[in-house]
Amino acid sequence: MNDTLLKVSDLSVEFRNGSTVNKAVSGVSWDIRRGETLAILGESGSGKSVSASAIMGLIDSPPGRITSGRAEFDGMDLLHLDDAERRRINGPRIAMIFQDPLAHLNPVYPIGWQVAESMRLHGVSPEEARRHTLELLERVGIRNAKARLKDYPHQFSGGQRQRIMIAMAIALKPDLLIADEPTTALDVTVQAQILDLLTELRRETGMAVLLITHDLGVVAQTADRVVVMKDGQVVERGDVREVFGAPAHPYTRQLLDAVPGKSRFRQPEAAGERLLEGRGVAKFYPISAGWFGRPVETLKALDGVDFDLHKGETLGIVGESGSGKSTLARTVLGLTRPTSGEIRWRGRNVAQMSAAELFEMRRNLQVVFQDPTASLNPRMSVAEIIAEPWAIHKGFLPRAQWKDRTVELLENVGLRAEHAERHPHQFSGGQRQRIAIARALALQPEVILCDEAVSALDVSVQAQVIDLLRKLQTQYALSYIFIAHDLPLVRDFADRILVMKQGKVVEEGTAQEIFERPREPYTMELIAASPDAVPRSESRWRSAQ
């Protein structure tokens, strides 16, 4: 079958950044056939998105520049189109969906308008566009679509937003849909739904899908062929089953090895001292409406949660967005007061602590947040960031030793001494998270709360960070509260797991219990939804060959 839809050859793109030139992709070639799903697999910085952007003409110049290559599509070279030709391609022929649908939908226009616009831009009459918008939204599974046409992106959930993006993309029945990390920010169950939807649509329309992702599970379950990229170059390509079954390139092997969910379950040791406990922790938010703002409803973010954390153990907390994981984290950290119930630190109720006791608790309870970019002050150097806890807890470490200790910590988390003088923006996401961990370690706390601390990282980096956390745990007898939505990760790392749903703990047990003998349907659903990194021919997402 030689039905090539798009052929990219020898594509090179570079970005100028001041005096430095970053070769994002160099000499990349691949092709995609009609109706197939091609996955470009790579970690952040591998250049996997850049080739898609080049095809769509989305590379800003400056700073970007396409230095070589061709992208043949229907007899045209997509890399050298004028504006009018470009507009005839983008939308009707090739459409694109993105990772973060909230950011990629215009916040100030109703979604109906935005979907209709993708048609009206290409000559569809307003009435026709309106009618078709409704069909599309219903097709992608927006319930009560007619009533929601005038709603705005922020009024939808993440999965619904991605559905809207998809509706927008398929409006003109494009030949090729480029999906750039379409499910990365979504919960596993929602991810499964979106992948289902894409699969169905592909079957219906016969469009080809170019799937750009870092998630090996998604690739394994959905793609026909895969292109593996590293540092701007293609390192391996081929049929998914062949590549995953017998990776030829060491990097591919390394990636596959890093996929979590394969190690042995950790067995909880004899319970040490109880450091933290939560009893009946609840957090309600009144939702008011009407003229005088009487509360008409209560949002139960946390609804009677009990938990214990012992010295040296890792407590995993899993659940989908909205399950109350983050509220629990904020409550534990003392950032919000629980509406009822209490949290005790070494038997002392946190709510009743004196300022000095609280201060002392804070020294021993550190946190690593999900987004390392946001949690590091962009104005401070790494040295300042890491030393800040010492500046706050005066007397913990004499100023003379700060420098040495900073270097020590940096090396501890796999960074180098010279990194101390740089600023956060000069690091990659994984490195930033290491800095955040180094900061959390600075005070040698007893507990570190990891709130989705590795979710945003690439698998290989994830694996490294988890390894680091493990190593530190043994080194310093640390306890972790490990909040994540990614089940395989929790499976590998946690001793005990809480499964949360709608503010409540629905199931609790050791990692082995949860994964091997789940009692609750919800837990089972969660486990079933996460894609397995082993390609199977019967995958419900793969195209029929």
Partner: protein
Amino acid sequence: MSDMTLESQHSQPIAQRRIGLVFMLRQDPFAFAAVVVLVLFALLAVLGPTLLGDIATSMNLRARNAPPFELERGFWYLLGADALGRPILARVILATRTTLLIAGAAVLLSMVVGSVLGLIAGYRGGFLGDAILRLTDIVMSFPSLLLALVVLYVFDPAITNVIIVLAITRVPIYLRTVRAEVMEIRSRMFVTSARVTGAGPVRLIGKHILPMVFPTIVTIMTLDFAFVMLAEASLSFLGLGVQAPNVTWGVMVAEGRNYLSSAWWLSFWPGLAIALVTMSLNLVSNWVRMVIDPVQRWRLEGKGEK
């Protein structure tokens, strides 16, 4: 950003970076020119009055409203003469010190007061925040002329009072902007991180919030500078500001008002001085914003690339 970018970034030690400031200034020709202009005016402010002696204040009615660029009266008459035949060039120089003193002090004072109150209102929020915000509403609605008259009646017409009146009327601008920004920054993750580590309000504000608000404050300050310089003139006319023989650019511009149709140069040159300082401050503030923002700094470290 990939690791590769990181490797190619500059990573010179701190000592080198200090020297780098001048280098970075040279990288931005607009900012460099602006700094030169500002240094020049600063020198004039410090030295001008001493160097001039009474050139700027002695009248010469035969040179009344003498047009600019006629050299037969001598160098000082290059920019023409005012209604009393005093050389405008000399008067612009003479006025530099008082002008910059009053405008600088008023801008600084309003900035400090407004920012502090804005920080409190934004950081504390709640009732206190609302109350502070309402206070600014009152100040903004209170007629500034009436305020000036009250000060004039209750106190002496000292320069400090001009500064206070000007500062009071400008406080709300800073307060409102700072409050809005603080409320946004307060909820950012790195502030939460520091809070969780046990940082108190002083540290949170001083180390994390203020540096983020600072660029905005600087921008307002530079735009306000021109405004204050002109507003000062109207107070002087009430008898609240500087009195002859002392003079400011604002007063010169305002005095020239009566001669706009016959002798434009009376108000043009001091107006140009105001515009020059404003524009230079603006360019420098843009540059400063870039220097203190590590994310932007590379623009000034590169080889002239922008």
